[in-house]
């Protein structure tokens, strides 16, 4: 589970909500706005993650409770083998509660960086959610309509000393809504490696958000990992920093939805 869940959730949540209007913003402002829209906000969501291959597929379902980018709890609800496992992140630290052995395991940093269950979500593109602002220079290079929404096309080039695996990232961010509707990841040789797409914009808790995130490597376009939000609720008063305690990690129970 580990990093990729964290990453996926963070990336996904970041790319949601907004009521701000685009004005004359710099490329960096746009990326930062898109990145920060979720900062400090609490939410609960129910998600399905599917690893899809030409010959087979596997599906995981999970529920999450989160506060900004720094705090979250994820409860695995399926498959049966992993059911009841819980992951909690507080800032840079992460723990895994395994009810079968009644133990909390602290997840070391190297494991947090690992890909999860062979999904196509890689690490550095998403784990450091803030780095799309801090670690790159940004430039608007065009416009495109995606999912019927007008998008800025923004090129992100990593700073020389940035701990980033990508040579370049291109993002399409909706002008009005700040959704990250498409992201292309290029390696150091400027070869396109992965494409991530946000789609299926639906109303969740009174706000329209892209509810499906899919990512696929360019050289294996039929290998797809999808993350679908089936339920989301924002600004939950009971979710404060103290919600993310070891006691609560062990006690939390799955919600009805």
């Amino acid at each position: 589970m580990k990093s990729i869940l964290k990453s996926v959730v963070i990336l996904f949540l970041i790319s949601t909500v907004t009521q701000l209007n685009a004005q004359d913003l710099s490329a960096r402002d746009i990326v930062e706005k898109s990145n920060n829209l979720f900062l400090g906000r609490s939410s609960v969501s129910t998600m399905t993650m599917s690893i899809i291959r030409p010959e087979w597929s596997r599906t995981f379902t999970m529920q999450s409770w989160s506060l900004g980018n720094d705090f979250y709890i994820i409860y695995i609800t399926a498959p049966a083998r992993d059911k009841g496992q819980i992951f909690m992140k507080r800032k840079n630290e992460m723990w895994n509660w395994m009810p079968t052995i009644n133990r909390i395991i602290k997840i070391p940093p190297s494991m947090m960086m690992q890909s999860w269950m062979g999904s196509d979500f890689s690490n550095d593109d998403v784990v450091r959610a803030n780095s799309i602002v801090e670690d790159y220079t940004h430039r608007i290079i065009g416009e495109k309509e995606i999912e019927g929404l007008n998008c800025y096309e923004i090129e992100l080039i990593p700073l020389d000393d940035a701990p980033v695996v990508w040579g370049k990232v291109i993002m399409w961010i909706a002008k009005e809504e700040y959704f990250q509707l498409q992201t292309e990841y290029y390696d150091d040789y400027m070869e396109l490696v992965n494409i991530a797409k946000g789609s299926e914009i639906e109303m969740m808790d009174g706000k329209e958000i892209p509810t499906l995130l899919s990512i696929s490597p360019v050289d294996k376009p039929k290998n797809i990992t999808e993350l679908k939000i089936t339920y989301q609720d924002f600004d939950i008063p009971s979710i404060t920093k103290s919600f993310f305690s070891q006691q609560n990690m062990k006690r939390i129970r799955p919600r009805n939805k």
Binding site: G84, S115, N123
Partner: protein, 385 residues
């Protein structure tokens, strides 16, 4: 035989009936599996086999916000040549329950098979704000490492028993108070079948990105003092724990210090490496073999994981695809030069059915720690619900 069929049928039914269940005030889960074991003892070329069908049912019931009830049971039938060759020793060993309450029941046995049922969890948990009280058969897991857990004075377990990750429970009372986000004070007491008690207090906290714990108490005949941590050096995981044991009845006896440290590291493509060492001040640097036919058939406690002074462990695991996980682990006693080698492959056949093949190959001279166990091959088909 009829009883056997009925129990397994019920296992199946409970799985299919309840696996769809969504959030209610209870959860029900478990598995049904078949495990084939082939054993090649040392000094013979004869293969011995045993098949074990087992079913586990985990039931949690939440009455309101404050009270949780958890009951879990295993139903097991083993048959084949090994139970026959070691009749009735093997059947008797399997139904041994170390708890104060005897919750393990032999349903039936004959020379070629035995069938048993075992309740390994049965407790009530009461929660009030920061306070928790757990009463009944439970697993109190204070260990930190994967293989050797000297802090695990209530439920320490045998690494080679790979097929029983839940482990037996203790008949105990655990009181816990959470003093912060990641800190707590616990006090626990358990009683064994022979009326000996283990009781101890543990304080856990988090500082400088490390989890720390210290414990003090009595484990049966020993006064214990222990401490452990889980943290990192660079990106590598760095965990360890140590416990000092001193016989409370013989003040002139010397104490025993048992400690284990583990490093682990995950590489980009999913390769996960870990290495651990165990030190036992009372251990021997000579041959560390002991009685017992199987590697599983050992009395394990936090004080006696092995008779060796030093033990080393290394493991590499790597997913070949999201469906196939492989792992190789090894344990080596540097003094008597005996060791264990355990390759395994685990394949996901569909969302809920897994197939695993693994081997436990023991090597060493006569009298050495691992020299007398021979080699074992296991294959397991497991349906989780």
């Amino acid at each position: 035989m009829k009883k056997l069929i009925i129990v397994f049928f019920l296992g199946f039914l409970s799985g299919s009936l309840f696996s769809q269940e969504e959030n209610k005030n209870y959860t029900l889960g478990g598995y049904l599996q078949t495990l084939e074991m082939v054993w090649v003892p040392t000094n013979t070329s004869q293969w011995l086999t045993m098949n074990t069908l087992s079913n586990r049912i985990d039931f949690r019931w939440y009455s309101g916000d404050k009270i949780e009830t958890y009951v879990a049971m295993r139903n097991i039938v083993s048959y084949g040549q090994i139970p026959f060759d070691f009749y009735p020793y093997m059947a008797d060993l399997s139904v041994n329950d170390n708890g104060k309450l005897d919750l393990t029941h032999l349903i039936t046995k004959d020379s070629s098979y035995f069938m048993m049922t075992n309740i390994d969890r049965a407790y009530f948990q009461f929660t009030n704000d920061k306070f928790e009280l757990v009463v009944g058969r439970q697993r109190i897991n204070w260990g930190i490492n994967l293989v050797w857990t000297p802090n695990d004075i209530f439920n320490s377990s045998n690494y080679f028993d790979f097929d029983y990750v839940q482990r037996p429970g203790s008949d105990a009372i655990l009181a816990q108070y959470y003093t912060g986000m990641s800190s707590s004070i616990q006090f626990a007491i358990k009683m064994d079948k022979d009326d000996k008690t283990t009781y101890a207090a543990l304080y856990r906290c988090n500082n400088w990105k490390y989890d720390f714990q210290i414990l003090a108490g009595v484990m049966r005949d020993d006064i214990v003092l222990g401490a452990g941590w889980a943290g990192q050096i660079g990106c590598a995981g760095f965990v360890g724990e140590g416990t000092y044991f001193k016989n409370k009845n013989h003040s002139d006896s010397s104490g025993v210090f048992v400690a284990s440290v583990t490093f682990n590291y995950s590489f980009k493509k999913g390769l996960f490496l870990q290495a651990a060492i165990l030190f036992n001040s009372a251990g021997t640097t000579q041959n560390a073999g002991q009685e017992g036919m199987f590697a599983l058939d050992k009395e394990i406690s936090a004080k006696t994981f092995t008779r060796a002074k030093f033990s080393t462990f290394i493991q590499a695991s790597m997913p070949l695809s999201p469906l196939i996980n492989t792992s190789i682990s090894g344990i080596f006693n540097p003094n008597d030069k005996s060791g264990y080698f355990g390759p395994s492959i685990d394949i996901s056949l569909n969302e809920n059915i897994g197939f695993m093949i693994m081997s436990q190959l023991f090597m060493g001279n006569t009298g050495s720690e691992f020299g007398s166990y021979g080699s074992m091959l296991f294959s397991r088909l497991k349906w989780s619900f």
